[in-house]
Subunit: 366 residues, 2 copies
Amino acid sequence: MTDAAYDSPRDPGRARRSPRADGYRMPAEFEPHERCLIAWPTRTRAYWAESYMLAQHTYAAVARAIARFEPVTVLARPGEGLEARSYCGFDAVDVVEMPLDDSWIRDSGPNVVRRPDGARALADFAFNSWGERYVPYDDDARIGEMLAGHLRLPRYASPMVLEGGSITVDGEGTLITTESCLLHPSRNPDMTRDEIERELRNFLGVDKVIWLKSGLGLDEDPDTDGHVDGVAAFIGPARVLLHMVRDPRHPDFENLSENRRRLETTDALGRPLEIVELDLRSRPVRLGGKDLVETYVNFYQANGGVVVPTAGTADDLPALERLGKIFPDRAVVGVPTAAVGYGGGGIHCITQQVPAGAATPARGEG
Amino acid sequence: MTDAAYDSPRDPGRARRSPRADGYRMPAEFEPHERCLIAWPTRTRAYWAESYMLAQHTYAAVARAIARFEPVTVLARPGEGLEARSYCGFDAVDVVEMPLDDSWIRDSGPNVVRRPDGARALADFAFNSWGERYVPYDDDARIGEMLAGHLRLPRYASPMVLEGGSITVDGEGTLITTESCLLHPSRNPDMTRDEIERELRNFLGVDKVIWLKSGLGLDEDPDTDGHVDGVAAFIGPARVLLHMVRDPRHPDFENLSENRRRLETTDALGRPLEIVELDLRSRPVRLGGKDLVETYVNFYQANGGVVVPTAGTADDLPALERLGKIFPDRAVVGVPTAAVGYGGGGIHCITQQVPAGAATPARGEG
């Protein structure tokens, strides 16, 4: 009942059905949410090392910042839920224990799609740990299955490898992604660009795919191969926030300029896209001898708020001021997240929205 | 007007006046507060080293936890206020910039005393950095002077060296301290026990001083020489919370048992003290190869809450449960604060209450 498999041998009647065929599409992040999912950092990842306690405080600060705007459910490994609650605050978040390998739920977890009647389902792509970069990832590859049970939502499982951070959608038929990631041979070497696009259409209910060239240089090696969520985000209908640099000698100048050219187009409904530019941070944050990936656009659009990864210094002020103007109807809240950057991402990478749906069944039902 | 000097050559008429002579006494921490003061960790202290970002997140978590119960003013070095606001949240706390050497305001800062009519003043003892342990401390020795201006409160300056963490008062004439700290030759080698007691009476308006033997062994060397705020706290009239250990082989068993015997007495009003026992954490927290000092009783009693330093693990549960029963009228909130312990203290050490006073003068007055 909670598992509407895409191609289930147990349910031949549903074989070849897709979320799109069943009337679902992925809502935009800027639409109302029921809650936010965050996965707790796992002690087992070597990159935290001595920074593990810092990681916990940082993730907790993000969770609490988002909890000001919408309910937050933190996923933690069995036996680690208590630590998550201790750091986040016992009454600030819900905690659900489940096996996890790592904490990048945007990429490892499912996307939640919705029908016009408000019913929701999981559009769950395969996860191969950014091209087998970190092992093991068996548990992370099963998050969708486990969440389907926990959230009591039907689940569509795609064999295509896709991380949630590599797409942004407007909820009205348009998706933006990058060639550098989706066409990277470590993801789906047997699929053509057209086949990948078809799967995106079927699974996320989109009609037009806009292909940017790439994400940030810093981000491409060795992490995500250039996720779109480091450079661009839909922030409203036909409205895209795009990271830019002004200095032609900046290593990302060419890529970002090319991305801008590709966005000078129309969305699925034929509307020209409004491109809202935001400058990258003036200098990278350094932690543990590493220049960090984090970009401002790797924010999370919560109900009534935007929770933005910051350096926690005066370097952030121009961007925070600009974001305040870009989002006049949302509270812009910065959270210093260098530790998340140290792990390889930002606030968007460690969150996933569950869009508001139909009325939740009362306890005991369903 | 804001500087009622204790023994001011400029004001011979007030010479030898003391807070007590002017009708002030120090209220108990469990009485209502106007606000809480916290000093932001300073980058210059070598012990933070690579943990500085962790320190910032930890102090911010403490500040936000207390801000649920009462206003919080964070003191930060000039130019570092923005970082403090970034970490704490721009709308969660007030930030005041002033020169600081370190972040242990309980010890370096003044105590706030109050008259029956609600008027308040600073009872400001000399600060010598726990017996010259950390240098420089010139700015920390001047916090009382600077706060007198900022808070617009008269200030009484004592030549006696005393850290706020070395005393706990009931607000009704009783003070508890430790011999290990107050009689330590690094503090006031020229003063006898009677002279020290007289200064406590005059400055804090107390009538009876109860001398415990010492604080925790872990705490005595090399940090505070055994502050009382690591082992005991007044939590109500004639009611003292006391840390105990049950295992006779524990290195603190003898000291803590002796402390208990000394508390089997009456307070300044002749009431027998109720001793409420709390077990020490079952095992120390380790961070950076160091066993940490932190004790649960090094909490902060906020308006309607108790903000308790924790390990952030299941080890805390017995103490948190017990504290919930000890404080039925307060919300007990744990904050994982190993980083504060790494610096040498707990939540009590990095906070100072400003008791509620008379109505605050309107802006422009005073």
